[in-house]
Symmetry: C3
Subunit: 335 residues, 3 copies
Amino acid sequence: MDAPAHLIRLGNLSQERLQQILELALRLKQDAAGLSLTGHTLGMLFFRGSLRTRASFETAVHQLGGHTVNLTATSDFWELEVREGTVMDGRAPEHIRDAAAVLSRYFDALAIRPAPGGRSWAADRQDAQIRSWADHADVPVINMESVLWHPLQALADLMTLRETLGELPKKRIAIVWVRSPEPASPSVVHSLLHGSLRCGMNVAVAHPPGFELDPEVLSEAHELASASGGELQTGLPLEQAVEGAHVLYARSWHSLETYGNPTLAASHRSRLTEWHVDERLMALGSEARLMHAMPIRRNLEVSDAVLDGPRSSILQQAENRLHTQKALLTTLLRD
Amino acid sequence: MDAPAHLIRLGNLSQERLQQILELALRLKQDAAGLSLTGHTLGMLFFRGSLRTRASFETAVHQLGGHTVNLTATSDFWELEVREGTVMDGRAPEHIRDAAAVLSRYFDALAIRPAPGGRSWAADRQDAQIRSWADHADVPVINMESVLWHPLQALADLMTLRETLGELPKKRIAIVWVRSPEPASPSVVHSLLHGSLRCGMNVAVAHPPGFELDPEVLSEAHELASASGGELQTGLPLEQAVEGAHVLYARSWHSLETYGNPTLAASHRSRLTEWHVDERLMALGSEARLMHAMPIRRNLEVSDAVLDGPRSSILQQAENRLHTQKALLTTLLRD
Amino acid sequence: MDAPAHLIRLGNLSQERLQQILELALRLKQDAAGLSLTGHTLGMLFFRGSLRTRASFETAVHQLGGHTVNLTATSDFWELEVREGTVMDGRAPEHIRDAAAVLSRYFDALAIRPAPGGRSWAADRQDAQIRSWADHADVPVINMESVLWHPLQALADLMTLRETLGELPKKRIAIVWVRSPEPASPSVVHSLLHGSLRCGMNVAVAHPPGFELDPEVLSEAHELASASGGELQTGLPLEQAVEGAHVLYARSWHSLETYGNPTLAASHRSRLTEWHVDERLMALGSEARLMHAMPIRRNLEVSDAVLDGPRSSILQQAENRLHTQKALLTTLLRD
């Protein structure tokens, strides 16, 4: 048996396959007819909360004629062990390898949202859970956001960029860190960075000192930029990154320096009051559109005026989760 | 785009539309064939528990060929902000306006069961959450019981009254407060009051002092009675309300005077031991049927003998949730 | 109306019906086409966690064209009263008899996983909850593992034994207790014991002193052995039970002596370090296969080498949950 076609990160998709999915998503947005996952059952496992991902993924499967089974760790089952070879006398009564093998007998694909440990970036960045699912599943594993990557969001983001900007090479996107009491992992930014650079965009990342992205992800990003003719600048001040940008992408992410120390991290963030998006900042761009992966803390990350004004693409982005996921599922499961 | 046809309270349905739904529900109970929500996905969001509503609503959608996506706030996602214009630096990471707008891109309708604050009736009676969903959704919002209204229960109740009593004008219904350690909001009674008065019934409400219904709801109820030729009496002693009634509808609801003060409320209720339904009380009616929206605390609210005897209509009522919801969905989504 | 065909224990199935289900399951494993539960809705109620049961049951229903409604007590609804005739002024706001009667109006069958009380075996072994559901439901109630029985697991186990061993009479199965910090109820072993003896197998049960199975279940088991020509030995030492066995079935279950006293039970178990399965033990059998109902604590109950080696049938067992449940649902609901 061939290895199943997992989607753990955008890098699992060849350039040709990525373009095929985006083209199909654009077509499906106009006319969803004629495709079918009838008789297919997709298993979704959530080890932490979700609104958009769950709603859009279930609807995507339903609209294609398939079924979903939705399992939430906290209410439906139990902790799973990830370490190989250990004597399982602790809390977890079951190993991921067994859960993955068993569920592969029932489902045609497994979509997984793992929970981060939250204590050490060096440990969390291994993405051990999603990798264990992929190692032991016999059906495609789809990453619904791990610590390191969020490929489903990146697919919707790339589709939105295509719709908004047309041809992407040399178009300018500013990814800007914004302040929030509950930052996310940098997964969304990591996947967006790789995706936009693969499409030849010029990417400027603004963030305060201490909020550098993962070094290995950045190193790969520079290689992708070289290959595609895109450009990448990171660690810019807010205004400089936004100047002349066609798209401003706001996101709050953890400092990897204070990761695992929430008290220190909160104290550090409390001084970063200027890191938010308002109309003044938007005006520095080149008729810039606002993008945000949501959930969004209004008037803290981005002002109501920007979010509810004509420059906001956030609902288009959210809707495109549906279309890109339909294209992805069709491509992964019917080829 | 026209405003979507929300169902927040029975008042959102014209008299013609209400009759149309009841007639369709009666037909669907005999023969459900020929209707279809194929390709439709209904989103259900629960901010507090449900058994009948969830089971009957999901089954209604399935029997019409559609799909449901079921999101439970406590286990699946997170708190949502309802206040407009606030700086969202508190617990809620997302605003209802964004959740409503996004989910409108995925679902064909949104059914919502909000949670009450439980501290102040003046605040809770604003029904801010369900109103915010309705304000910001682009698809029909269906109220699965807010603090103030429960229109889905009222539709099933009206259907049951029609089946039981035939023509409703001038038929007598006694709505009686009963004691329970966990009273509900008066939502079920509010919607039933308006529904039965719109159908021209004579309504007698019995409750102890301090358990008056919401004054604005009562004021509207008197207007509905005037318009339809129905009659409304409230605050009656138990026996007087039941005398000659064709239907006795039992329900426990919060005192709006001690609302938000559970200790005082419990002490107040502990003296009201005579407020329950037994065979002696039923005998005062005119071959009266017993109705109750459930869940029901046996032998506290109503005795086993009444519930399991020939006068009980509670299962018929519960079953009619299925048929009226099918009629409602068909009417809301396919017109 | 005829009484609905509940499946609370294997004993609810006649020998003819049991064989019919196993034959159908074997056929469905090869070719699932041509069967349909279209238009049927199955209600599933979980009062404790589940991974395999829920995933395989939902998929079974979907593959047959039906829908499931999935209710989890902790997150979706509330406690249910089981005592008859009581004044319900405690925590539970609803009685199982009402929930069962109402849900029978919506669903075509009810699958229930009750929670054990965990305090007294004499009380828990009454299986009061699942019996109350069966008493009050008007549709078939399917037991998804009660304190006393797990018939769905037993069906999958019998199918796996048939696939592995061919004709079952006189084949030897060793059921061996293994140590775990969280033993299960003996339900899986009780149902397997009756199922394998009905098929004429020779059954040897190994367990430490104090881990005897339920006396009434054992007494019935001896009667079944007499009727079928099978043999039953219990309380054997580990090696003696396994010697010459064709199948070794590992399971951890509670001591019924220390049931309800977790501290004493843990202390008791801590001395039983030799009760686990490794390659040395497997070698005592007659080319023995390993079976386990999962979840499994690796390297505590059974070693990695056995679980991942060629003698393991655990994934085949788990997959057979799907096929036997499809056969069962087809048989229960379409006859």
